[in-house]
Amino acid sequence: MNRRGFFILLFLAALSLSLTLSSVSAGVLEDIKANGELVVSSDANYAPQSFLDEEGRLVGFDIDVATEVARRLGVVARFVTPDWDLIVAGKWGGRWDLSIGSMTITAERAEVVDFSIPYYYTPAQFAVHKDNKTIKALDDFSGKTVGLGAGTTYESYLDPNQTLTIGGGEKIVYQVKGVKSRPYSTDMEAVQDLALGDGVRLDGVLTSGYVVDEAIKKGVPVKPVGNPVFYEPLAAASDRARPGSAELVKKISEIFESMHKDGTLTKFSMKWYGMDITKKAR
């Protein structure tokens, strides 16, 4: 029994290995063409960029963009929805080919992923509870507790030990100091915690201006404070560890270029945001 048991285990181990060893090929672009599908990761937590409609289908701005990108590559898009932390960590192991998930271009992330050119821009916005009377300007946030999504640019922005370098290295002017940040698994939990009441758990949140807009639209008692603290260029990203990653994002950049030019991105932006946010702000 002992010996046989050992061999059965060994056999099971070998079987699972042979089933899972992925075929290594020339490059990710070739893999996509060969499989006829572009596997896209998207963080399905944010309306209107990537969320679930009433029938539970994945829809949104990012989804439309990804579907169109796949079409222009001559393949179909398939979506996977891993946790945001897993997407920005890189080393995807070929489980998906591309992130079209509103990822901000930052120098830190560029160490693990290759970025395409931006396909749209989003403002980073502070917000407080509707009932708040004391925080009227950005410097009123000093010493306050602000909620945000873990692994987001907003977290890097408020972390004194990190320097946030976004996009083409535009200088970020720090208008707030001494803010205590409290990270949540997504921005949405932070917004909901702020909605409990002014100062109950949070004094404010720092998130995308569109998240704040969406919250207000859905009746969440929050209001924006001050002008956006920085603008983020959002791009597609590809796992640097994967062979052919650079070629893939080059191809994706070309597709974005044409989608900017022929108005496709503007069309999607109007459809989901009701305004054109595909042009560089400021």
Binding site: M1, N2, F6, L21, Y46, D83, K91, A215, K218
Partner: protein
């Protein structure tokens, strides 16, 4: 009934949006399939691991004993969520790329296998030495003795504890949501977050976990009654 009234009162105080809950209930419910699938496959993997683990833990062979003891110690000593991420993120570095579901099943199976190794070991050890000697004296091999004498009796002791583990696993399967598996918890979280109504959707998910557990408990009770038939009759005669 009173407790139920208290629960309803508390829910009322949560200020839940019931039309919203009804609207998304069918969508969240569809996650039950993945929850049960992941749990079932994981408990099967865990049982197989636990059987070998228990036999190895009882083995006189120092290598088998050492490996099994190390496995139980390491896995019981680390959090399941860490194991899930190690298997999902770590294995690809060794060239083994697992999808979200296989990674989740392996992690749950390996984790629960370690706990269940100890349950199985206890079950096997509870079978009297005399039974084993009797089996050997009838000329059975080790394998025959295990299969025909020890394990059938041990299962009676193992099953209730294993059922307990399965119930725990049903809920721990929610951790695979982090890998992007569309099970109950994942669906509840996505819908809740994007509508800023986490409370409503998490309550729906909790309700379904509870219902599945109740249904499972019913079948477990039947199975236990079935396995207990023999002993009950014997004790009946003895007294």
């Amino acid at each position: 009934m009173g407790i139920f009234a208290v629960l309803l009162y508390v829910f009322n105080r949560f200020n839940l949006n019931f039309p919203f809950m009804l609207k998304y209930l069918p969508f969240i419910m569809k996650g039950v399939g993945y929850t049960i699938l992941v749990s079932l496959l994981s408990i099967i993997a865990a049982s197989i691991l636990a059987l070998f683990g228990a036999i190895a833990r009882l083995s006189k062979n120092p290598v088998f004993y050492g490996v099994a003891t190390f496995y139980v110690s390491l896995i019981r000593g680390t959090p399941l969520i860490v194991q899930i991420f190690v298997i999902y993120l770590g294995l690809p570095q060794m060239g083994i790329v697992l999808g979200a579901i296989p990674a989740g099943i392996i992690a749950l199976g390996v984790c629960y296998g370690a706990y269940m190794t100890e349950i199985f070991r206890g079950g096997i050890q509870s079978i009297g030495r005399g039974q084993i000697e009797a089996a050997y004296s009838l000329g059975m091999t080790y394998s025959q003795m295990m299969r025909r004498v020890v394990l059938p009796q041990a299962f009676r002791i193992i099953i209730p504890a294993t059922g307990n583990e399965f119930i725990a696993m049903l809920k721990d399967s929610s951790l695979v949501a982090f890998l992007g598996v569309w099970e109950l918890f994942f669906r509840a979280q996505r819908v809740g977050r994007q509508n800023f109504r986490n409370m409503e959707t998490l309550i729906i998910a909790a309700l379904f976990y509870w219902i599945v557990t109740i249904i499972f408990q019913y079948f477990q009770g039947r199975l236990e009654a079935h396995l207990a038939r023999g002993t009950r009759r014997i004790t009946g005669i003895a007294h």
